[in-house]
């Protein structure tokens, strides 16, 4: 069976079978080699690896550049919000973080970016609600203490 190797420019990874390679999140620019190739080759130039790149092709004309990194999931910020402020908003943030990841994994970048925006708005909303509630609370506390 054919074994593949790939490199990030510093280290070499592998050997992988094709099935294992599918889980490695290669991009078209990742250098890949297998026994039979004379040199490292960009993955996009190897026809049999085409199915590995789930990122849709860049549309012609000016468009949003396709990020190589998944969009921000706001997971950690959602956890912080859950811990320090507003439970329902934090949980909504975590659920949206999961939506960002699933959409990105499925190759739906547009959906992932949308979910990321939504997660962000949950986090920001609860952040400001937390600040306002805290502020009101301190005001009440101070006025009550006087």
């Amino acid at each position: 069976m054919k074994k593949y190797f790939y490199t990030d420019g510093q280290s070499q990874f592998g050997p992988f079978t094709f099935e294992e390679l599918e889980k490695e999140n290669l991009t078209g620019n990742t250098m890949v080699w297998y026994n039979g190739l004379s040199d490292w080759t960009q993955a996009k130039d190897i026809p049999e690896l085409e199915s590995l790149f789930r990122i849709p092709p860049i549309p012609p004309g000016p468009g949003r550049p396709i990020p190589t990194q998944p969009p921000k999931t706001w997971l950690v910020e959602s956890i912080l919000v859950t811990l320090f402020c507003c439970l329902p908003f934090g949980i909504a943030g975590i659920v949206n973080a999961s939506k960002v990841e699933s959409a990105y994994r499925a190759g739906d970048l547009e959906g992932a970016l949308q979910a990321s925006e939504k997660a962000k708005s949950w986090v920001m909303t609860s952040f400001w609600i937390g600040i306002v509630i805290g502020f009101i609370y301190v005001l009440i506390g101070i006025s009550g203490g006087l």
């Binding site: 990030d8 999140n25 997971l75 811990l83 439970l87 999961s98 101070i142 203490g145």
Partner: protein, 128 residues
Amino acid sequence: MVYKLYNQKSVAIFFMLSIGAIYFLYNPADSELFPKCPFLLITGYQCPGCGSQRALHNLLNLNIRDAFLNNALMVISIPYILTHYIFEINTFKVRMMKWRNIFFGNKAIYIVFILTILFAIIRNLLWN
């Protein structure tokens, strides 16, 4: 010519340092000034965040044990949250992606979600 007297980052840092100082110096358990959890006030049940202010106070004063009793979820979240910033600072690398997917991928998100809910259930069972 208008000079900008501050930028967002320095305001955020100043804000966090002030908050940190307040929580270091004052124990929320002893003061009426600290906000109470609205969820607890309304439902009578502790949410996953209840006790995090006291936990923060105890952590800043290095009372790890008390912090853990105040809010265990918060204490165990801290290394996780710090790890996240390593991935945030680093630019995209294939090797980093692999670890990112392990720690912050979909499975990790489900685990976080389930842990948060479980923590809320268990703490209320123990507490009542």
